[in-house]
Symmetry: C2
């Protein structure tokens, strides 16, 4: 991805609605950049309206090609609304660092975010539903699905899966150092970037039963893909 | 905050709209729990509607008592919409860990989230505007504001600040180990929680000018409040 130092850029998959007007659009339709951000982030924030009130709800997701998948209880209010095909917005944000300038005004954050607009469809086919659940699981903890018990008939029945096509999406990225005004460069305060990263701590074994299985490599060496 | 092991709980500041129906409501109106989550998180996701389409946009924020403050360019499309007083939802999410169960179905995440519903008001008074900008700065990097150049008249003019009262808000929290079905406990796969935390890396000095100031303590020892 071409990136400007200390600047914001944007990538989009089509349409005027997903282009944020105040920022230059470089490399629109950059599907790969959008996919990479979606694949690295863990949680998305889903926006929808109900009775004139917007709601924003965090949830896990998975991506298969040009589709996002959401899942949850079949009794979920959010999924119940979304499966009616109302307009939805799915946003993911990776916070990469704090940008400390010499002036309060030029403080910023480095981040990568994707905004997806569309409508969700309920996944009816059992085959696609299972693939989607596997994709969500593998998105969160790659390697886990093969080791655990797959969903049984009852669990599949009480789980809803929704599919959102990645037709309208845009990415916004800020990278690099602070951009101070020339006349502020002599202010004798440290300036730069404090990188931030989401990192795993020590795995905490469930003590419900005595465990003999070792901590798996995909847990021990857990990292988000970059 | 009272917490159940391996369970989800909810705290709310008033109203039926902010209570998620599928989950038990323990300790409603727990203002402190809501404030703590808001104070620890860095980025919020702001949901609003424009021409029938919901949008969810990540942004920084600050809290002063029972108000959230958002800021941005006076030319920002989002702030321009919000200052009209349309319904808004502000959500923050802290992802605390991955919950690995013996069955795919019982996988989950530990998290703390707050959903705020309301309407934003444009902050007109210069005094409150400056206090809000200071609160946002101190929310992100406590200690920074006192060291940097404060906004000048032009910067204040091109910056909009919005205030959202914390009247309707709810917190949702999951903590603890996986909750497997009894009959799955003998499946010989490791189960437990992989904690996640957002941590700082090595500060990267801006090389625009040679810096003599040392990396400040509030950068070197940066941690979110818990």
């Amino acid at each position: 991805m071409k990136q400007e130092k200390g600047g914001t850029m944007e990538k989009s998959l089509s349409t005027d609605r997903t282009r944020l007007r105040r920022l230059p659009d470089r490399g629109s339709h950059d599907r790969d950049a959008i996919h990479r951000i979606l694949d690295e982030a863990l949680v998305c924030h889903v926006g929808f309206e109900a009775e004139g009130q917007p709601y924003v709800i965090p949830t896990l997701y998975g991506r298969v090609g040009d589709h996002l998948y959401l899942h949850g209880s079949a009794a979920s209010r959010m999924l119940g609304r979304l499966e009616k095909g109302i307009p939805v917005c799915v946003t993911v944000t990776l916070l990469d660092g704090l940008v400390l300038a010499r002036s309060a005004f030029h403080h910023s954050v480095n981040y990568r975010s994707v905004v997806v607009l569309g409508r969700a469809e309920l996944v009816a086919s059992e085959g696609e539903k299972l693939l989607a659940l596997r994709a969500i699981s593998e998105h969160v903890v790659p390697g886990r699905w093969a080791e655990v018990r797959e969903p049984n008939e009852r669990e599949m029945r009480v789980t809803s899966v929704l599919r959102i096509p990645l037709l309208e999406a845009s990415a916004k990225v800020r990278v690099g150092p602070p951009k101070d005004d020339e006349e502020d460069l002599s202010i004798p305060v440290w300036a730069g970037v404090l990188p931030l990263e989401t990192l795993p701590g020590e795995p905490v074994p469930d003590e419900t039963v005595k465990q003999t299985a070792p901590v798996p490599g995909y847990v021990r060496g857990y990292r988000r893909p970059r």
